[in-house]
């Protein structure tokens, strides 16, 4: 009997369904999937390493764009800690009513000093105030002509920098002290503190704005690089689509490429910030010594470092996501 082709063993047909479910169990499928991702991750890194100059240029652009806001943020943080140190030297002068006795004034100073918000409160009697004024003002002669001492007694309060910081809390402390029955007026000379904080507020907003704009730049740089990569691999994408590659499969290497750009860019930014920090450290120490302060520059802490690397990675991924989403659909087999 003649063997007809139909009699022979038929291969298991690869229908759409069993192509997807032919693996051995769900565990093997997950394992294969993870393995595939890992392979793509390192494959894309290898692809970048094949063109080291152009890859590094892209990463460097990202690094610089990230380093600028990160460095400014670092400077602002340091400026803030300097300003906090100056808060400590802020004084509130409480001018007491004329009829408050010296013993009551001293008791008030002692009572205030026990408060958490107050570091030091010292009582200056009317006589002491006059003597000080006479010595410092140069109006000594004129003052002797007066029959009566015109100066009130004063309690000088220095707020505790650990519990009171910033113009708002200083102002509310001043208001509270002004309301005391012994106090006629409370004066806080904090115009300069307000100005400093206003300046830093402007700086902070500027950095946020700059950071936003430069983050957008990173998105565009990565997006454009990935767009070019997609165009260079047009044929490959068409072929992969023809033999059944899903969008997710085709998208994956481009997303990982963006991931690497962002991560490496983040590391470059970190290195740039560290270099700038290292360059500034010695002169800042000298300057601080001139002012008699023990101030030292603070570097990026662990949270900021992670934020920089994570932000870079997210921007890289985001940029490639946008590019892939826009351009992959345009490439279809014809």
């Amino acid at each position: 009997m003649k063997r007809t082709p139909e009699r022979r063993k038929q291969p298991r047909p690869a229908t759409a369904e069993n192509v997807r479910t032919r693996r051995r169990g769900p565990l093997a499928a997950v394992e294969n999937h993870l393995l595939r991702h890992l392979q793509t991750l390192f494959y894309t890194l290898g692809q970048l390493a094949r063109r080291p100059v152009s890859s590094l240029l892209t990463c460097a652009v990202i690094g610089i764009a990230l380093a600028l806001p990160a460095g400014l943020h670092l400077l602002l943080g340091n400026a803030q800690s300097v300003a906090r140190g100056w808060d400590g030297t802020t004084q509130i002068s409480l001018f007491l009513h004329q009829q408050v006795a010296e013993s009551d004034g001293q008791a008030l100073a002692a009572k205030l000093e026990r408060e958490a918000a107050v570091a030091v409160a010292s009582y200056i009697s009317r006589e002491a105030a006059l003597a000080e004024f006479r010595e410092l003002s140069g109006f000594g002669e004129a003052l002797t002509a007066l029959e009566e001492n015109p100066l009130p007694a004063v309690v000088v309060v220095r707020p505790d920098a650990r519990t009171v910081g910033g113009p708002e809390s200083l102002e509310s402390l001043r208001e509270r002290l002004a309301a005391l029955p012994e106090v006629e007026a409370a004066q806080l000379d904090m115009q300069w503190v307000k100005r400093l904080y206003a300046l830093m507020d402007i700086g902070r907003r500027g950095i946020w704005f700059l950071g936003g704009v430069l983050g957008l730049a990173v998105l565009l740089v990565v997006g454009n690089t990935i767009r070019l990569a997609i165009q260079n691999r047009r044929d490959e994408i068409v072929i992969t689509k023809l033999i059944g590659g899903t969008d997710a499969f085709i998208r994956r290497p481009f997303l990982y490429t963006g991931f690497w750009y962002g991560l490496i860019g983040g590391f470059i930014a970190l290195a740039l910030v560290a270099a700038g920090f290292w360059l500034l450290q010695a002169p800042v120490r000298q300057l601080a010594a001139l002012y008699g302060g023990g101030f030292t520059l603070e570097g990026l802490d662990a949270v900021a470092t992670l934020l920089l690397l994570g932000g870079g990675t997210a921007l890289g991924l985001g940029g490639s996501w946008v590019a892939v989403g826009r351009h992959l659909r345009e490439i279809e087999p014809r």
Binding site: P5, E6, R8, K9, Q10, P11, R12, P13, A14, T15, A16, V19, R20, R22, R23, A28, A29, E31, N32, H33, L35, R36, D235, E236, V238, I239, T240, K241, L242, I243, G244, G245, T246, D247, F249, E332, P333, R334
Partner: protein, 223 residues
């Protein structure tokens, strides 16, 4: 396996590539698709591979009405079709092995299974020793065989070939055709678009003949 019911395809601008095409290719059948260039051979293959969609009529592949296949399902339909192209369409920056492995990688198979199946497919087309080479270093006939290995490695029930011997000399063409015949012998449905009439005479099979978008002949080639 393939059923066309009154299928037409017109392109914007009024050009009708296919007009009222009706035919059925049973599972395990092998057929040639012939016609002069521009007769609609490529269009017909594109409709099967969902590169194009029919303007009218119904295309059913493997029991699946292609009109009901959404964009996201297209890759899964294509995985059940082995496609072979005149220009091979290989990835020139990947080795022969990686080219043939691609459908299995896409389908998410494990590395051992991929290795086993790729070697089996390369063995079948006689290129087992060349898996580490790049396609560009191979001859035209060898490149076409890499393309065939890639098309069959996933064991699809249907093979489509678009002018697979277009650039090959008669001897190589015969070898390639013999390969298709071998796959057909083990139950794979094969549809080959070709205008190589000499070859069709040598290995006679059912012939579907297109002329200006109409199916004008269905049966053995008239001598």
């Amino acid at each position: 396996m393939i059923r066309f019911t009154n299928v037409s395809k017109s392109y914007p601008g009024g050009f009708d590539a296919l007009k009222g095409v009706d035919f059925h290719l049973a599972p395990g059948e092998m057929a040639y698709l012939t016609g002069h260039s521009g007769a609609g051979k490529s269009t017909l293959l594109k409709l099967i591979a969902l590169v194009e969609r029919a303007s009218e009529g119904q295309v059913v592949i493997n029991g699946q009405n292609l009109a009901r296949v959404g964009r996201r399902r297209i890759p899964h339909v294509r995985r059940a079709i082995g496609m072979i192209f005149q220009d091979h369409r290989l990835l020139n920056d990947r080795t022969v092995y990686d080219n043939v492995a691609l459908p299995l990688v896409i389908a998410g198979h494990g590395p051992e299974e991929i290795g086993r199946r790729v070697r089996a497919a390369l063995d079948k087309v006689g290129l087992l020793g060349k898996e580490r080479l790049y396609p560009i270093t191979l001859s035209g006939g060898e490149q076409q065989r890499v393309g065939i290995a890639r098309a069959v490695v996933n064991r699809p029930p249907l093979l489509l070939a678009d002018e697979p011997t277009g650039n090959l000399d008669p001897e190589l063409s015969r070898e390639i055709m013999q390969l298709f015949r071998d796959f057909n012998q083990v139950g794979v449905t094969v549809l080959i678009a070709t205008h190589d009439l000499a070859l069709i005479r040598e290995m006679p099979q059912r012939v579907l003949r297109l002329d200006h978008g109409r199916l004008v002949g269905d049966g053995a080639l008239a001598a």
